[in-house]
Symmetry: C2
Subunit: 166 residues, 2 copies
DNA sequence: CAAAACTTTCAATTTTTACTGAAAGTTTTA
DNA sequence: TAAAACTTTCAGTAAAAATTGAAAGTTTTG
């Protein structure tokens, strides 16, 4: 396979994965593109490669910066901004995990905690509380575990993987 | 808090979580509703509670059945179908994990594997391969680990959580 | 077997989400 | 300091996804 073809395939596939998981396709594609570019890219280059408008490129680049997985670079002698993805997959996973947990999982854990406080003592209420408690325990354990994994370093991760997999 | 209010809050919040993670809101809400209903519900009851059309209710119920986390029940003397969510959170997590992995993660791992086969030996190609390899290793390890977690039983899970957390 | 009870399908519509492009804003340079 | 180079914003538009509702399909019952 040719390098260009491979890049294209990867960028496309990453976009599909992203949109399946609630990340907009373009944002995922820009991220993929920057991940496999040997050098930082300008807005123009991103626009050109993905055939998207300036506004779209700009907003999604900013989005990626907000996630903390892309940074602006300034080239001396150049007036444009250049963008570069963090190539440390660990760092990327860490940031995404922390952000998504904070934005999406933690609020749900909070709600689960709240709705547990049903005063009623009927059979139905008891069953409800039980279901919610299990859900809460599961959710927060999993959330904690994922964070733990991702916070630790690469070496620890693989060690743990190996330990747990056998 | 009153039971009804608590249920409503939970159903709503589960819908939000779902749509953030690429699951349509209604499907997530129906699932939540069935999870906290003491008895199986008919299509009418689901329609009524969530204020949705028959077609919508039907399609999303079928969707949930396809995921393997909701089952049809037949009540003797009744002609309608009734729907019931699997209340074993473990089983639910297991099925969702397996399905999403199969539908969404595995295809990406396959692509990553494919695009590694770049013949070129330029510096750029080398860097590309390195990035993809790291991504692939990370993705498949994480995927494998999550599956492993979810395949094992509740007891093993908590034991592992405790072991890893300290 | 035909009417009733119920379920499924799908074209049309609505809602939501993403994108465009031009205008406004900002920074740099001469 | 004004024009050029570049970035950001956002109202309007387009595209995608979800939903409706009515018609077609299926199963049950008398």
């Amino acid at each position: 396979m040719k390098l260009d073809e491979a890049k294209q395939k990867f960028v496309h596939s990453w976009g599909v994965l992203g949109s399946n998981w609630g990340i907009n396709k373009t944002m995922a594609q820009i991220h993929a593109l920057l991940l496999v570019s040997e050098k930082p890219l300008s807005t123009e280059e991103v626009m050109e490669y993905l055939q998207i408008s300036r506004g779209n490129a700009n907003m999604n680049l900013r989005g990626l910066i907000d996630w903390g997985i892309v940074t602006k670079e300034i080239k001396i002698g150049e007036r444009k901004d250049f963008f570069k993805a963090d190539k440390d997959i660990w760092e990327v996973a860490r940031r995404i995990t922390e952000e998504r947990s904070k934005r999406e999982v933690e609020p749900v854990i909070k709600i689960l905690n709240e709705v547990k406080n049903v005063e009623e003592e009927s059979e139905e209420a008891k069953e409800f509380k039980e279901t919610i408690e299990k859900l809460e325990s599961f959710t927060s354990n999993l959330d904690g575990l994922v964070k733990k994994f991702v916070k630790s370093d690469e070496h620890w991760f693989y060690k743990t993987v190996i330990k747990l997999m056998k």
